[in-house]
């Protein structure tokens, strides 16, 4: 019984990208992260940084939930006193980017093959040593996932990912 309920919830749960503008004040990130853990909401990634206005921070949150949960998440974010604006980008056309640094253990034999993968993904090599090579990959989360997958057969030593940043797309013409 409970399995079918869980399944139906899982079916309707989807990933949402939420963009949040908030006062750039002491402890603001903590309030947002704390709210997610206190309410038991899923938090896939969270990024924060300054905006064009130094008094305002932008946070990009990737979370997962069914419609009722996402509605509550947005309301709870709005409820925080420091919150200026909450936008669920999911239903809009939006640009998203993520950056990953991938450090790979190399041998003289496999180095050309790795460089080929890097080129196909239009990524960059930003550090090189006799035994390693570090790649900077930028793109959608899916693209970053894909390059990591392609590099997996080689010896990946370390990965650092930023989490997603996103903005609403203004272009509205026919694509």
């Amino acid at each position: 019984m409970s399995e079918t309920i869980e399944q139906s919830i899982a079916q309707t749960a989807r990933k949402h990208t939420i963009s949040l503008l908030l006062e750039n004040k002491f402890g603001a990130l903590n309030r947002v992260a704390g709210m997610f853990s206190a309410k038991g909401y899923n938090l896939e990634s969270i990024t924060v940084g300054p905006t064009e206005d130094a008094s305002v921070s932008r946070m990009t949150i990737v979370t997962k939930g069914d419609d009722a949960i996402i509605e509550q998440i947005i309301k709870q974010l709005n409820k925080l006193i420091d919150t200026l604006k909450v936008v669920d980008l999911t239903y809009d056309s939006f640009m998203e980017r993520e950056l990953a640094l991938i450090k790979i253990g190399t041998t003289p034999e496999n180095r050309p093959e790795i460089m080929q993968v890097v080129e196909i993904f239009q990524a960059k090599i930003i550090d090189i040593s006799h035994k390693t090579l570090t790649v900077e990959a930028t793109g959608s989360g899916q693209k970053v996932d894909a390059i990591i997958k392609m590099l997996k057969p080689f010896h990946i030593k370390e990965i650092a990912r930023t989490g997603r940043v996103a903005l609403k797309r203004e272009f509205v013409g026919e694509v």
Partner: protein
């Protein structure tokens, strides 16, 4: 009041600015407890006659007293404590205020800025600890921000959905000097609570109301917080819609009114729960569809269209999906709705409810030994709604909700959301300073009274005229009831010893009285009320008694257990004799 247009341009310490800011906010009373980190603030308070300081005997007591003051007066309550343990002792009170949307501002001392994070003596990250249980919090890092922060703190605590705000005051900041300049007003670009209801939503609500045949108003604490009792009465009378209230809604609508159904929910009246189950329109007014009200949410008011008026958008469709949400201040929204609605033909519906009231009244068997219901009913008869009743948590809390007839707003104070034992006694201290016109009655069980019994000293010291009632059954009665009903009567660690409360009272210099049999009850209550200043009465009540009606947790209306007609177990192994059925109805 204090329009300080010519602010003196002299330098003041943070501590002086703090005190001056409270005066600007018209704070008349502070409940607090001094300590090392706030010694400078206490020094600044020393010469101030505009602010009364009440020294409680525990910081938890200070916060509950601030809550009691706020609940009884509608004005923000203020607590002031030191850093570290002083601050952590406020946590339960702050959580309590958060759950019940009580406007309080808690000022905590903090170690000097450069020591923060060093595990300094009496250091605690109180902003971090209380983040999930405050509406907002501040750490003041610069004395130039102090006045603005205090202004903001009071504004945030008292507007929108009210709640506790904490302001952490590092010791060195409070010793630093600057020019005092209190802002006249505050505007936060990130915080603008809705007040007026959206016209489209109002129109939709009016359309639903006009079609209703069996409507019910379900009124919560929001109606009291927004001072909407007058509007609610007009609305109910104009539309002829019966009114049931939540625990926190008690007093929002007079229970002497024929439209009153008393309280609904787990221990609500049989007829209110029945009316909600069969209603075709439920209008939630400043209520949040709490699990103690709804039971199983998808079976709550199953036949009804639902309108929900609430100032907090996150309350809408949180527990129960509603048809027409209206976000706004309850008072304002009712004012907007009033000219748009007209009388409904609810004559048959009201008659049906009247029959239910006659068939299933609140009732108990009165015998030789005292039942809690009887004590509360007697107080109700004697005070006629003109008392501020402050309950603790447990069985007596539910009976105080059932068997006292509430008429006026802000006369029923309780810890509803958090369910904090030990709330009543300190809260009554705050309430007594807020209301001089009504007697203040604090009721606790033998469990709860022992959780903040130290406040008897506060009551004695300031001669706070609280009538303290202890209903002693020798058990944690509500837990025992659940163990009896749902845990095969295995009474695990619920029986407890009490001191001699009359002697305790006397030791504190408070007159004490005791009743052990039913026919002493009335006299003891009379003595209690006839005593000037504080007085305490202990009632030895039947040991095993259960609160009914009851909808067991998470179940539906159809699982309701009505009040049984058999006698309850006597005290001290003696037979309960001379049973007489007493009935009691709301409305």
């Amino acid at each position: 009041m204090t329009q300080q247009t010519t602010t003196p341009q002299r330098q003041m310490t943070g501590a002086e600015i703090f005190v001056r800011s409270l005066i600007e906010e018209n704070v008349e009373i502070v409940f607090g407890y001094p300590g090392g980190a706030v010694i400078g603030i206490y020094d600044a308070l020393h010469d101030i006659s505009d602010i009364k300081h009440i020294l409680t005997r525990h910081e938890q007591g200070a916060v509950h007293a601030a809550e009691g003051y706020a609940k009884a007066s509608g004005r923000p309550g203020v607590a002031l404590v030191t850093s570290g343990p002083g601050a952590t002792n406020t946590v339960t009170g702050i959580a309590d205020a958060y759950m019940d949307s009580i406007p309080i501002v808690v000022f905590t001392g903090q170690v000097a800025l450069k020591l923060i994070g060093n595990d300094a003596f009496q250091e605690a990250d109180i902003v971090g600890i209380t983040r999930p249980i405050t509406k907002h919090s501040y750490l003041v890092r610069d004395v130039n921000e102090l006045a603005t922060t205090i202004k903001e703190a009071f504004y945030v605590a008292t507007t929108g959905r009210p709640g506790p705000v904490l302001v952490d005051l590092p010791k060195d900041v409070m010793a630093t000097k600057t020019i005092f300049n209190y802002p006249k007003s505050v505007k936060l670009r990130s915080y603008q609570p809705h007040v007026e209801g959206n016209q489209k939503q109002l129109d939709k609500a009016v359309a639903l109301i006009s079609k209703a045949k069996r409507p019910v108003l379900y009124v919560g604490g929001g109606a009291i917080l927004s001072n909407a009792a007058g509007e609610l009465k007009k609305f109910a009378h104009k539309t002829k819609i019966p009114v049931t209230t939540t625990l926190h809604g008690l007093g929002a609508f007079p229970e002497t009114d024929e439209l009153s159904l008393g309280m609904l929910g787990m221990h609500g009246t049989w007829y209110s729960n029945t009316a909600v189950n069969y209603c075709d329109l439920l209008i939630a007014v400043g209520a949040r569809f709490d699990d103690r009200v709804t039971g199983k949410t998808d079976a709550f008011a199953p036949e009804a269209k639902k309108i929900h008026i609430d100032v907090d958008p996150s309350n809408i469709s949180k527990n129960v999906k509603v048809d027409v949400p209206i976000v706004g201040d309850v008072k304002k929204v009712l004012q907007q709705l009033l000219p748009l609605v007209s009388a409904l033909d609810t004559k048959d519906w009201i008659q049906t409810i009247k029959n239910w009231k006659e068939e299933h009244p609140l009732r108990y068997n009165n015998g030789k030994y005292i039942r809690m219901q009887h004590v509360i009913q007697k107080i109700s008869e004697m005070t006629k709604g003109k008392a501020v009743m402050i309950s603790d948590v447990g069985q007596h809390q539910m009976w105080m909700a059932q068997f006292y007839q509430y008429i006026y707003p802000r006369t029923h104070l309780t810890s509803g959301g958090l369910g904090t034992m030990g709330f009543s006694l300190p809260a009554s201290v705050g309430a007594a300073f807020a209301r001089k016109d009504f007697p203040i009655v604090s009721i606790s069980g033998d469990g709860g009274i022992q959780m903040n019994i130290q406040e008897l000293a506060t009551i004695r010291e300031y001669n706070v005229p609280v009538k303290i009632i202890i209903l002693n059954n020798g058990y944690l009665g509500m837990v025992r009831q659940w163990q009896e009903l749902f845990w095969r009567k295995r009474y695990s660690h619920v029986e407890m010893l009490s001191p001699d409360y009359v002697k305790v009272a006397e030791a504190y210099g408070i007159p004490g009285f005791r009743a052990t049999v039913t026919n002493e009850v009335e006299d003891v209550i009379k003595q209690l009320f006839a005593t000037d200043g504080p007085a305490l009465a202990e009632f030895k009540v039947v040991k095993e008694d259960n609160v009914y009606p009851m909808i067991p947790a998470g179940q539906t209306y159809h699982e309701i257990i009505d009040i049984p007609n058999e006698k309850s177990a006597p005290i001290e192994g003696e037979e309960q004799t001379d049973l007489e059925m007493v009935t009691f109805s709301k409305g």
